[in-house]
Point group: C2
Chain length 391, copies 2
Amino acid sequence: MKCAGPIDVRDVDESYINIDPIQVGGRLTAEAMKAVIAYGDGYSVCDNCRKPFRLDQIKTPPVDQFHQDLASFLHMDVARVVPGARRGFQAVAGTYVQKGDPVVITALSHYTEVLSVEGNGGILREIPDRDNIITADAAAATIEEVSREFGRPPVLLFLDHFDYQYGNEHEVKEIIRVAHQYDIPVLYNGAYTVGIMPVDGKALGADFVVGSGHKSMAAPAPSGVLATTEERADEVFRTTVTKTDKTSRTFGVKEVEMMGCTLMGVTLIGMMASFPRVRERVDRWDQELINGNLVVEALRSIGGTKIRSEYPRKHTLTRVDTLNSFDKVAQTHKKRGFFFSSALRDRGIAGIIPGATKVWKYNTYGMTRNQAEYLAKSFVEIAEEHGLPVG
Amino acid sequence: MKCAGPIDVRDVDESYINIDPIQVGGRLTAEAMKAVIAYGDGYSVCDNCRKPFRLDQIKTPPVDQFHQDLASFLHMDVARVVPGARRGFQAVAGTYVQKGDPVVITALSHYTEVLSVEGNGGILREIPDRDNIITADAAAATIEEVSREFGRPPVLLFLDHFDYQYGNEHEVKEIIRVAHQYDIPVLYNGAYTVGIMPVDGKALGADFVVGSGHKSMAAPAPSGVLATTEERADEVFRTTVTKTDKTSRTFGVKEVEMMGCTLMGVTLIGMMASFPRVRERVDRWDQELINGNLVVEALRSIGGTKIRSEYPRKHTLTRVDTLNSFDKVAQTHKKRGFFFSSALRDRGIAGIIPGATKVWKYNTYGMTRNQAEYLAKSFVEIAEEHGLPVG
């Protein structure tokens, strides 16, 4: 069925249990759906924009209050909405990274962090992982190396609390403590934490907390949040200082790295409408982990299957290796690797790349217990049906 | 009525004739509304993202075809969607502007162009206007001045076809010709043209054409388009060249200035769903001007009222000076300046800043002839009711 022109109606989250690794935290709440319908039009939140004419100051709808709520939700001082977490990275890199400056990322950093540094001419150095975990010891060693190589410490450090590849937890608090000994500001990438589990930026010591609306805050894309401390706010949210040469125009309180206003309609209103539920749901993270581990145990019971992520799991995003289980089946199955996604589809489960049977990722976030049990059972049944040992 | 929490249902475009200067071209089509409902979730267009994993290559929904359609719609070679026109400016400035480089804008340039240059450390010089029109002669003189001042020509020139202050048309084609004599790339800002009137980037000679989805393409915010020539595409859409030091990771075909993918859901699908109607509606621009001029003539018939924009009007966005008409009324009216917006509201007309009776803007884009006639009549009636001379 088409919803407009050649565009199919999308019903993956209505008709299936979706386990897509990047999609599950971005599904809209019912409140967001309602708000999105009312605020679809361009500039829809700007009806009551008054002096000083900046998004975060709008009172109706309560965009100003939402910004304060966002900051306190993350235990930071100031927050702004941005068109995706990546635009938060870009703003911070744009503020601190000059051409030739060393910047530290990790062996598991997301590519958008890399692009934000490359775009500003920074030179990247990685903190290596140990068994896919980034430790404070490794961070300290890397900072020392970089300081020797460049004759000065790195100007910025990007840190993913849980990475996108394994969903592993890294030594965030400890690494931030190390970085601060060298006065290096740290950007905490919470794309896989902000909106799904509690995040306390102050307790972690983060200079910047970045979250993704469409990844983990039940909001439309592109949306996200960049929060910071009072001290750093003056830097990353600095306002324009331009005075033009002929007309002597100035541009008020527009923030340079934000490019003025950021999310003028449906994206912002979606974040806002979902926020009360998002704020509440982070406290149920333990239940999410129980569901996730239930599925992990089912997968582990299938002979030859390995959990590549750290174990036991501390996140619902998991990387699994089925080279010696489902991929063995694929080698002789008439559908090849597609047998697996197809068998899942037949059971009403979607979100795994069709054909993938080697190393793949899934995410159980947002499921009911029943759905998690059903998913666990489905993996086992598919294994059994294809003669894989279980137990 | 609330749609979610403290957020009021927004019905300004359902219950009123909206003449907000920045909103009228961004109202969603019925097709976009339907698509937005189906694709509200984060990463909703990514269900079928396959190698090489880049937004503009997705085949289902037909995002790849849409990108080609966008480029040919603008008579350019390559197009990308961006989170608002401003992010298109930022990408181009990020490519060409280094610290200390001179960049030319105009006396009527939008503030987001200024921020994109300021953010990259460029130094702005303005082409002055003559009666609020930017001429090729003035552009040539400014380029000469800048070349003398800096010992080299400007690295980039921003040009608004119709500006946001007056909706005046500027000598775009002629200015581009002049700029090219100095090998200066020109960014054509079509925030007030792309999606509402025909734009032929090739005929104009533009190096970059930028449009706004939420301003003029009936799409949700933030959205927009950056189109360019084959030659410039390699520069502004250059792909990442980073290879990380420890893990030797590379990041495929991700484009640095785009920060990888840009609009992953509702914003893109809204642009796509509206596009067939948008492509069609630009050919009815003459009808829009007839409607606009009908309202302009009504305003001119009110004693003391001046059209500050160029006259006759070539755009539906108009700046009007009612200092000697409605503002005179405001001085003794018990509602002060609010009498005017309030009288309009009573007649079902919205979109003018409450209290504004001095110099203000409105936009008649997208009205039916009946609505334009009604608006014209309403202005005249309000004048007559308050004893202003008409005729």
